[in-house]
Symmetry: C2
Subunit: 187 residues, 2 copies
């Protein structure tokens, strides 16, 4: 017999990313986010949901561009810090020691230390309540060669991403491989 928990924003592990953006003065900012997902394959799109109170919300609204940067577990402390502090009060690139790189494709900086970077052009904004969901079309992906397999596909095991468990408020690593999709179920 299942137990009712009421309406809550949890249910599955959420990927942890850094959202890169510029403010009106061109100062680069990062913000940690987990309310993120892939939402279209063609054109490739990703979504990120932000509170209106964040600097990143204003930056994306103004600049129409952002980056989604996937950090590895070795940057966990910086990642957690960038989710606590506001860009309105602190330059989080300086505070974390992470390095902003200007994207040539969208009006946003990416994080050099993150092995996998999505450069996104804002295509939709959806007001949902406390959060606004921004949908970005992925214009390009940039990856560190060290995380690519022989077919130039990012190997998430080499990257070592961070997952977030909503409700628990605990970070997790990625675990062991369970097999190929569309293969394991055919047996």
């Amino acid at each position: 017999m299942k137990q009712s928990l009421g309406p809550k924003s949890l249910g599955f592990p959420a990927p942890v990313v850094l959202v890169g953006s510029y403010d009106r003065h061109g100062t680069p900012n990062i913000m940690t986010a987990a309310w993120v997902g892939i939402c279209c394959s063609s054109p490739p799109c990703v979504s990120v949901a932000l509170r209106r109170a964040t600097s990143t919300y204003q930056n994306i609204s103004d600049r129409k561009g952002f980056t989604i940067n996937t950090p590895g577990v070795r940057h966990l402390k910086q990642v957690d810090y960038a989710g606590v502090v506001s860009g309105a009060h602190e330059n989080k690139f300086l505070a974390t020691g992470l390095t902003p790189v200007h994207s040539d494709l969208v009006d946003a900086p990416y994080v050099d230390e993150c092995p996998l970077v999505l450069e996104c052009k804002l295509v939709q904004s959806l007001e949902l309540g406390l959060h606004t969901q921004f949908v970005g079309e992925v214009i390009d992906i940039k990856a560190d060669p060290g995380i690519l397999d022989s077919a130039d596909i990012p190997d998430l095991k080499k990257l070592g991403p961070i997952l977030y468990a909503p409700g628990m408020r605990v970070y997790f690593a990625l675990g062991e491989s369970l097999g190929k999709a569309h293969v394991v179920g055919r047996k």
Copy 2:
């Protein structure tokens, strides 16, 4: 020096869920999805992106309700199978042996074997291209008591969810705990 991979729909591990819905005859259907995410905290909302060609797309459009069911790794074979076969050709509840339970709150069935279930009312549809993103407000969450901690919060480590690595097309388990959010970065 980062390598350009072009625009692709990948970037981070995506949670694997089963989407529950009814067709026009009231037949329950499930579909495996990973283009999913939390997109608002208040009201709690989740999004799932589906191709128009799927039975689930039509079902959610008609019924304005769906469930997001988080399976554990012990159901990996059924989960993968439900992502390959179309509900138009097969009753996937019967084929997988999973059990549909009628939700009292939304017009959709949930999967009894999944330890964590979100009952969702359709609130937005966003046409993005190949995929349409459905946003559902979470009306209730139902959980197996065995995955709850002492504060009735779902413990994802007990649940043992499945992650999907886009591009690689490989499933992964959840790994080890890395610490509490908003704590590890304060050190």
